[in-house]
């Protein structure tokens, strides 16, 4: 017989007996509203990170079409395309990634405090 694998949680505090956030969120309309606000907040963080990334990736090729000389431009003797695609584009992408991690963890911490206040 096939069995679905689901995750056990390890290394978490045993809160058996204490009403957990999961019970709270599925209990009533208020709980579901809380859940909706958590998901919306997370989506907001996602959009605020992916928005700049999409602009960066989509606008540069578009700029190359609108400004045909762009490919021939050079930065201290190195073609601009090499400077951007060969390296320059990565630091902002990586920075966005780590910034998202911080933002999402902050958001979850605040949501936890909100639940604990109840």
């Amino acid at each position: 017989m096939r069995q679905a694998v689901r995750a056990p949680t390890r290394g978490t505090i045993d809160r058996t007996g204490v009403p957990g956030g999961d019970d709270l969120l599925r209990r009533d309309e208020y709980g579901r509203a809380l859940l909706g606000s958590l998901i919306r907040a997370q989506l907001g963080a996602t959009v605020s990170v992916l928005g700049p990334a999409v602009l960066l990736l989509a606008l540069y090729p578009l700029l190359a079409v609108l400004v045909p000389g762009l490919g021939r431009d050079q930065v201290i003797g190195v073609p601009l395309t090499l400077v951007v695609l060969g390296g320059g584009i990565y630091p902002p992408l990586v920075a966005l990634g780590f910034w998202y991690v911080r933002r999402a963890e902050q958001l979850e911490r605040r949501f936890g405090e909100l639940l604990d206040d109840r």
Binding site: M1, R2, Q3, A4, V5, R6, A7, P8, T9, G11, T12, I13, R15, T16, G20, G21, D22, D23, L25, R26, L35, L38, I39, Q42, A45, T46, V49, L50, A53, L57, A58, P61, A64, V65, L70, G71, R72, Q74, G77, P79, L80, T81, L82, V84, L85, G86, G87, I89, Y90, L93, V94, L96, G97, F98, Y100, V101, A104, E105, F111, G112
Partner: protein, 576 residues
């Protein structure tokens, strides 16, 4: 020509991989050990393993070769491969880990409550991985043949035996450490030669790369033509020839006159230092450093082609079955996020270097254009540019890196396939996993022996486009859109996966010609990704009754941090 140092380096990599993999055998006891390393892998180690698995031959050899041939716009592939992890991080990493699904079929059934959807997803996993895996074996055979000498089958069989026995014995626990090790090998093997070669350029003039391609021979160069080649000579040049040029057998000095010359297969020409290199049409000239993708000038729509590749690579990364399996080895959702951020960092670091080989190859190795071997630029450039022992050492390093790329990606793909087959089809257990790995390993090795040449970039690009048009919308909508239903998901998988596969098969078979039709078939992601999303949304809106009854529970499981839950969440270790 067999180079002893390169042979040695490949042997060392292979043996080390096998030994580290075997060590896992002693600790792997339960099915969970085998498949997900018991979820105890810390973020940086896991990130190294994911990066090791992700950087295949297409990244190690293909990007530099394609950029050297088609222009710097080909670097968008690398940018897309890296950005895929930013999207994965910000959309699916934490919720997918919290949901606790081990494979995409698990997620499909768990989230939408449809065993039928699971079976379709499983079939797609096997197909995507299979087509991704065969070119890896093929590439290994060709690489060993080209750099080390010896027959084609040696590389294929060595790869097959090492990968299959490693996985069948150690499972995921051993493989995690191996993959992490192979990432660091790969990054060293491309970074060190890149830095040394930049320093070795006597008179760096990167500004000249944009001239009519290719430039001049910086040193006396013997060019062997593997196939009949039409080349355009711009200025008269006297070479030492052995073979047939323009229908005439020549042996000795020959002056090539301006115009088109036909060089017969097997001919070799020795160009003196400083000679202008003939060009082979259609090599792009002035557009080489344009930041757009010019694939042999076939499309004539470079902006659309660039967007097509970006869509496929950015959204395809999250739908690759062998990568998603790894997220389950994180301790919790927060660890999954941190792991993904590190992957983005590690993969981006790697992609700083292929561009170096592309530019140096264009300046220093014009012979590769003439012989159509730009794909091997990473492997051969060290020996061309650095004479003596130094060049041999660097060549051994890149050979080791290339083989590391074949080993790591093949292992990851085989684990994903064996996992899907044993877990989703055969019913799961250590014995089923081992048996699946053995059978699939032998099948793929056999397929690798049968195919003489598979265009690796086409097949890898196909895997990305299909993943982006099927699993990507399933995951994104499944996690963030509560109204997704099993009917909508089926429509999306069928339409998106079906149209993208058909498009690529058609373009591989030679349909499409030129212009828009070539673009839409060759870079299908530009329309199949929107089609898949639209089908899932429309199908779901038409069947509101099929929304799972336990939707709230599912959303809580995906989005609520683990530490806010009560006791063990997501059921026990195994839920029927």
């Amino acid at each position: 020509m067999a180079a002893p140092l390169s042979v040695g380096a490949v042997v060392v990599i292979t043996v080390t991989t096998a030994v580290i993999g075997m060590r896992g055998m002693r600790v792997a006891r339960t099915p969970a050990d085998f498949m997900v390393a018991a979820r105890q892998v810390p973020p940086l180690l896991n990130a190294s393993a994911i990066s090791g698995e992700y950087l295949s031959a297409a990244s190690f050899l293909g990007i530099a070769g394609l950029a050297m041939l088609e222009g710097l716009g080909a670097l968008w592939y690398a940018v897309g491969y890296a950005t895929g992890y930013l999207v994965l991080l910000a959309t699916v990493a934490a919720p997918l880990r919290r949901f606790g699904a081990y494979t995409i079929p698990d997620f499909a059934e768990g989230r939408l409550g449809s065993p039928r959807l699971r079976r379709w997803a499983t079939v797609m996993v096997l197909v995507i991985c299979g087509f991704y895996l065969i070119p890896q074996f093929n590439g290994a055979g060709i690489t060993l043949q080209a750099t080390l000498g010896g027959p084609y089958w040696v590389g294929v069989v060595v790869l097959g035996v090492v990968v299959t026995t490693g996985i069948a014995s150690g499972g995921m626990k051993g493989i995690t450490v191996v993959q992490a090790f192979l990432y660091w090998i790969k990054v060293t093997a491309i970074a060190v030669p890149a830095v040394v070669l930049v320093l070795a350029v006597s008179h760096p003039s990167f500004g000249t790369v944009d001239g009519p391609a290719p430039t001049t021979f910086t040193r006396a160069t013997l060019v062997r033509f593997p196939g009949t080649t039409r080349m355009d000579v711009s200025r008269p040049v006297t070479v030492r020839a052995a073979g047939t040029v323009d229908g005439t057998r020549v042996h000795g000095a020959l002056t090539l006159r301006p115009g088109t010359q036909v060089v017969a297969a097997g001919t070799s020409l020795r160009f003196p230092a400083g000679a202008p290199a003939p060009t082979v049409s259609p090599v792009t000239g002035s557009s080489w450093s344009s930041p757009l993708l010019h694939l042999d000038g076939r499309h004539g729509h470079p902006l659309a082609a660039t967007y097509g590749v970006l869509l496929a690579t950015v959204f395809g990364a999250m739908g690759l079955p062998h990568i998603l399996v790894r997220f389950y080895t994180n301790r919790d959702g927060q660890a999954a996020r941190r792991t993904t951020a590190f992957v983005l960092l590690l993969v981006s670091t790697f992609y700083l270097f292929p561009a170096v080989f592309a530019v140096l190859g264009r300046m220093e190795a014009p012979a590769l254009y003439l012989t159509g071997q730009t794909d091997s630029v990473v492997l051969v450039l060290p020996r061309i540019m650095v004479a003596g022992l130094g060049g041999e050492v660097l060549a051994a390093l890149v050979a080791a890196g290339a083989f590391a790329a074949f080993l790591s990606t093949s292992s990851g793909l085989l684990i994903a396939m064996a996992g899907a087959l044993s877990h989703d089809i055969m019913g799961w257990g250590v014995r089923a996993f081992r048996l699946s790995a053995l059978v699939l390993g032998m099948l793929v090795t056999g397929a690798g022996l049968l195919v003489a040449s598979v265009p690796i970039n086409v097949l890898v690009g196909w895997a990305f486009a299909v993943a982006a048009s099927s699993f990507c919308p399933l995951l994104l909508l499944g996690i963030w859109w509560p109204r997704l239903t099993r009917v909508g998901a089926m429509w999306g998988l069928a339409l998106g996966g079906g149209t993208s596969s058909l498009a690529v098969v058609a373009s591989m078979a030679g349909f499409g010609g030129t212009g828009w039709s070539a673009l839409l078939l060759g870079e299908p992601a530009i329309w199949t990704v929107p089609v898949a999303f639209a089908a899932m949304v429309v199908g779901s809106l038409l069947t509101p009754g099929a929304v799972p009854a336990n939707l709230t529970d599912l959303l809580v499981t995906m989005h609520l941090p683990e530490r806010l839950r009560r006791g063990p969440v997501g059921g026990a270790e195994q839920v029927g």
